[in-house]
């Protein structure tokens, strides 16, 4: 699309959208957010870029083929079921560990976050696949 306003805004908005997606991903456990909506925000960033500069340019935004991204996301989600099996015998059980940070604090990471990461990649992969199939001529 040949709109100067859109092109100028897109450069700014895409960075913002991608950062917001990461924020939503990490925020999603105790507050609204999560892997699914973060993936959709990334997909909307890619859609915005596609609207502005064309689909082939938007393809370059993605470092990985969407199908590989889909597969990776699902693989990560499947892997996140394993810590539960190791710890307590129940697959997909929540296992939390503390990662120490300098300054006598720590951040708690758990297998639900890993699962959410898998969901994130899956949603990005599938949404971009749908976008690609809708935008190109049959």
């Amino acid at each position: 699309m040949n709109s100067i306003v859109l092109q100028a805004a897109t450069r700014f908005l895409i960075t913002l959208l991608l950062l917001f997606a990461v924020f939503l991903l990490i925020r999603g456990h105790n507050e609204p957010g999560g892997g699914f909506i973060a993936g959709l925000v990334v997909a909307s960033a890619i859609a915005l870029y596609a609207l502005t500069c064309g689909m082939s340019a938007a393809r370059t935004l993605m470092p990985l083929d969407p199908t590989i991204l889909l597969g990776t996301g699902l693989a990560v989600a499947l892997v996140s079921a394993v810590p539960g099996i190791i710890e307590s015998g129940a697959p997909l059980d929540g296992v939390w560990g503390e990662v120490p940070l300098p300054g006598d604090r720590g951040v708690k990471l758990g297998s639900p976050l890993l699962f959410d990461l898998g969901v994130f990649f899956t949603v990005v992969g599938s949404a971009v696949t749908v976008l690609l199939s809708l935008s190109e001529e049959a």
């Binding site: 199908t67 889909l70 597969g71 499947l78 539960g84 129940a90 697959p91 997909l92 929540g94 049959a138």
Partner: protein, 519 residues
């Protein structure tokens, strides 16, 4: 035990993910396609042996105790269904490995079939109503994409109808799940079995039962909800139809069996006559529709509808013998119908046209294919000593014991019409001489303005050589032999079905496995 319960759906899922990651290599994908199906079969057999020895087993996902968490539970019925699905899946995977072209493989055919198998196995093994919905959707979405893969116009038409009707059914299922949760506060099958009989108001429970009947009835292709099946099963390439025919409707029948024996046995005066009517009309209308069709796969699609009527008869009669007959019938039907669809795929590949009037003379040119068709067709029609005879005999006996004479008359009449239809197929495709216009063309040069998928099948069967033809034939032969084995070994198989039926009607062992020993 947890590993054994989770494996039937975990193994195809892992195979699907690996196939997605390696989606550039056609050979790896084919290997993974067969591996996923074989994994399902092997884990299913292991599970069946374990359940047979120890009774129903359960495990909780994520460590949350029942009834708060998601329960994975297997009783005899689930294990039997997983094993037979594994057989059907392996046969279909071998056939697909021989016939699916590189284009569809690149679009993700094998990950999708593996996801379908994971969804089917998950649906059989879950003990939670909403988890059932999730596995249903996994299976449905995989089937949607498989149906439309390739993008030919007939496929798109069939896919639109299939997707739309199944979407509406899914929303009804979801609505029923939400209402059940609002009514009883739980979604776990075992817990619901204890809480639903006391739930007030009973009118709402019946309404939810009817919602689930509609939702699962659409999936199982019962009357009057079956119209998506003849509209869509004959449109995709043969390998997709083979997988669908043996699996998808049976998941709906299983869901009906599970919910109406475990959850909704509070009003037999309403539900049993309803099921008897539904099964009789499904049987009759299915076979009448089959007689009217003039294409191999369309006839078989209507036969699926008709046979589903037989399976639902078991729920209508609700005696142990009737349920055992229904379970045996499901097993027999999955084997026979998949074998018939395999034959249909091979037959379509030889002539380049799907109309029965264009087929002919295959008895001389492909005698082994004719043999497989004969065995599978006779089994479906109910000729002794094949499995279909035993299944129909048990159902008739159960009907007579329950004094449902009208239904038994319908069963026998429909069997007669099924024989007529099978004989017609045999005549058209195998016995009559090939039409003159196609003489001298041979299987490769057939003029094919038809869907290019058919043309592709002819190309592979000509260019691939002997092993491809064998790979097309072998799964059908194996399933036909399975049907013979099921018929001759009907004693032990029927015993197993009786035990499964008794577990369905008397779910104490199931409840104990899920909820723990009663206090």
């Amino acid at each position: 035990m947890t590993a054994l319960l989770v494996a039937p759906f975990a193994v195809p899922m892992i195979a699907a993910v690996l196939a997605m990651l390696g989606h550039r290599s056609v050979k790896l994908q084919r290997i993974l396609g067969v591996a996923g199906a074989l994994g399902l079969l092997v884990t299913g057999i292991a599970l069946l042996i374990a359940i047979e020895r120890h009774g129903p087993q359960a495990t909780q996902l994520s460590g949350w105790d029942a009834p708060f968490g998601i329960t994975i539970v297997a009783d005899l019925l689930s294990a039997i269904m997983v094993v037979i699905s594994g057989m059907v899946a392996t046969a279909s995977a071998v056939y697909s490995a021989a016939t699916v072209d590189a284009r569809r493989t690149a679009f993700g055919y094998y990950p999708l079939t593996n996801f379908l198998l994971a969804g089917v196995a998950g649906a059989f093994l879950t003990g939670d109503l909403f988890n059932l919905y999730v596995w249903f959707e996994v299976m449905l979405i995989a089937s949607f994409v498989l149906l439309a893969l390739g993008g030919e116009r007939p496929q798109l038409e069939g896919a639109v109808k299939y997707v739309a009707i199944n979407l509406v059914a899914s929303t009804m299922f979801l609505a029923a799940a939400g209402l059940i949760y609002g009514l009883t506060g739980t979604l776990n099958f075992a817990d619901l079995a204890q809480r639903l009989p006391e739930a007030e108001p009973t009118g709402l429970v019946t309404a939810i039962a009817m919602l689930l009947l509609v939702a699962f009835g659409v999936k199982a292709a019962a009357f009057p909800l079956f119209f998506w099946l003849p509209a869509s099963y004959h449109t995709p390439p043969a390998d997709v139809a083979i997988l669908f025919s043996g699996l998808l409707t049976k998941v709906g029948v299983y869901a009906l069996l599970r919910t109406f024996t475990l959850l909704f046995d509070h009003d037999p005066g309403l539900i049993q006559p309803l099921f008897l009517w539904i099964s009789s009309t499904t049987m009759v209308i299915g076979v009448l529709g089959a007689l009217a069709q003039a294409e191999f796969r369309r006839v078989l699609s209507f036969h699926i509808v008709s046979q589903v009527g037989y399976m639902l008869l078991g729920i209508g009669l609700l005696t142990p013998l009737a349920l055992a007959g229904a379970i045996f019938y499901i097993a027999h039907h999955m084997l026979a119908k998949t074998a018939l669809f395999l034959v249909a795929g091979a037959v379509e590949g030889t002539r380049g046209s799907r109309a029965l009037a264009q087929q002919g003379g295959l008895f001389e040119r492909r005698p082994r294919l004719a043999m497989v068709f004969a065995i599978a067709a006779l089994s479906l029609a109910g000729i002794p000593p094949l499995s279909g005879f035993v299944a129909k005999f048990v159902l008739v006996r159960a009907g007579l014991e329950a004094e449902a004479y009208l239904v038994v008359a319908a069963v026998l009449a429909v069997s007669l019409l099924t024989i007529v239809s099978m004989v017609k197929l045999w005549n058209e495709a195998f016995w009559k001489p090939a039409p003159e216009a196609e003489e001298g063309e041979g299987p490769t040069g057939a003029p094919a303005p038809a869907a290019t998928s058919v043309g592709t099948a002819t190309a592979t069967s000509a260019g691939g050589g002997r092993w491809r033809l064998a790979a097309q034939l072998a799964p059908g032969a194996a399933l036909a032999l399975g049907g013979i084995a099921l018929g001759i070994g009907a004693g032990p198989a029927l015993d197993l079905s009786m035990r499964a039926a008794e577990q369905l009607l008397e779910p104490t062992a199931y409840l104990e496995a899920v909820l723990g020993e009663p206090a």
